[in-house]
Amino acid sequence: MKIEVKDMNLYYGDFHALKDINIGIEEKKITAFIGPSGCGKSTLLKSINRMNDLVENCRIKGDIFLDGENIYKDLDVNLLRKRVGMVFQKPNPFPMSIYDNVAYGPRTHGIKSKAMLDDIVEKSLRDAAIWEDTKDRLKKSALGMSGGQQQRLCIARALAVQPEVLLMDEPTSALDPISTTKIEDLAMELKKDYTIVMVTHNMQQALRISDNTAFFLLGEIVEYNDTEKLFSIPSDQRTEDYITGRFG
């Protein structure tokens, strides 16, 4: 298991947002978190790279391990986030050039050599399948790109710091169907090298690309299984109700 969450409970003030979470995430697979809005799937995702630290009154009990190391006790938070990259729901390229966006991470982690940065930028953009779209406009502002391109740029930016895990928080919910397909294809490609955890509202998407799926409801993991099994023979009535569209 690449990531293991053990007996985790999370509270926002008095609100008990995640209840007794236990889940293991396999290396170099795509794991999908599905469930209705407000069920805690994004909250769990953001706990894996400690972005919840930014939320006031957020308390976490229990442990999360990355390769057996406790992320809240053994690891420096900035190094953790270097190893566990994140792609947000809304594409959030920085208001600077495409090149500088991708180079930001490596520069932050101390790489100064122009030649090395050039290599990293090209490789990251290639890996994110957006090199052809951007190679002639690297010095142009990233804000001039389309939403789908921006999201792939954000993936390239995340790849540039050479993470082991990629967290994707509904990465296609703000995109059109064609861009969505591109991001999905990209995720399938990337899982050869990276462990991917993806939150999605779209059950078809989970079914198309994920290896394992966890179904969340009201802060609990109702069912966690191989994606095909979960969608074909769900073992819990609530999962079946959700995937057949009876609520949510």
Binding site: N78, G85, P93, Y104
Partner: protein, 286 residues
């Protein structure tokens, strides 16, 4: 019908400020240009000697004086102002934010004559001692003193505008930087602050405008000698001071020369504003 009347009222209100600028422009040019022409533009702008009694009207010392004290104010005020606003927007614990904010608002409300008194009583003796102990002489009323005081006076302007510019940067930029493993400092100084660049520049320019236009406080601490200075511990007269000190008794060409001084001041302010809008436009395209 009622809507039309209200629309007219709004239009009139909007025109009032344009009208004001237009009138000021007109008055200044009509009264200032002929004087400048009589003296000779080259002699007026480039002349090193200001002796109204001998009909010598060279305002180069005053132009240089205004530029010196403004540059000094930028050197003291801009770094402190920007760092303060970064602190207030991104580091400040809630418990001290309120008192800090109140103090800065108070700073902007203090009349400039009171700043002048502070300068006269505290800064002038202090600078006199520093100047003498460094062997640079001077009696304390100097470019250095005026720069310090102006640097203080432009702080609230810079801090106010810069802080709101930093706060207006989408949280997604900050979060995106953290998610790449950046530290709080790295995210704030490499992503958030550059994203607020145009607002920061606007704040700095407003501060420059305030510094170049400030009169009362500068008169009280700058010494007001109408000659080219030979060191930052020497006295200086600014464009604004030149007008205020002599307008009360000036007549004829002397009076016109002072109004022409006002034209020069106005052109400076205009140039600053235009360069900012140009900078901003380029920033958006890039």
């Amino acid at each position: 019908m009622k809507e039309k009347i209200m629309k007219g009222v709004f239009l009139f209100a909007a025109c009032a400020s344009i009208l004001a600028v237009g009138l000021i422009c007109y008055f200044l040019l009509v009264n200032g240009i002929p004087g400048m022409a009589k003296i000779g533009v080259g002699k007026f702008l480039g002349g090193k000697i200001w002796r109204p009694n001998n009909d010598e009207f060279g305002i180069l010392p005053m132009i240089v004086g205004s530029l010196y004290v403004t540059a000094g104010a930028i050197i003291f005020g801009v770094p402190i102002g920007i760092l303060t606003s970064v602190f207030m927007a991104k580091y400040c614990p809630k418990t001290i934010y309120r008192p800090l904010k109140t103090a800065i608002e108070l700073l902007s409300g203090i009349p400039s004559v009171v700043y002048g008194f502070f300068g006269l009583v505290v800064l002038v003796p202090f600078v006199r001692n520093v100047g003498r102990s460094l062997g640079l002489g001077g009696n304390g009323s100097s470019i250095f003193t005026a720069s310090l005081l102006l640097g203080m006076m432009i702080l609230p302007t810079i801090i106010g505008v810069t802080e709101s510019a930093i706060r207006a940067v989408p949280a997604a930029y900050y979060e995106g930087a953290l998610a790449l493993g950046a530290t709080h400092e790295g995210a704030v100084f490499k992503v958030v602050l550059p994203a607020a660049k145009s607002g920061v520049v606007a704040g700095v320019v407003l501060g420059i405008g305030r510094a170049i236009g400030e009169t009362m406080a500068v008169i009280m601490v700058a010494g007001n000698q109408a000659r080219l200075p030979n060191g930052i511990f020497r006295g200086i007269r600014t464009l604004t001071a030149n007008i205020v000190l002599e307008m009360g008794y000036a007549t004829d060409l002397h009076r016109e020369a002072l109004i022409a001084t006002g034209v020069v001041l106005f052109v400076f302010i205009l140039a600053i504003n235009v360069s900012v809008s140009l900078l901003n436009r380029r920033g958006q395209n890039g």
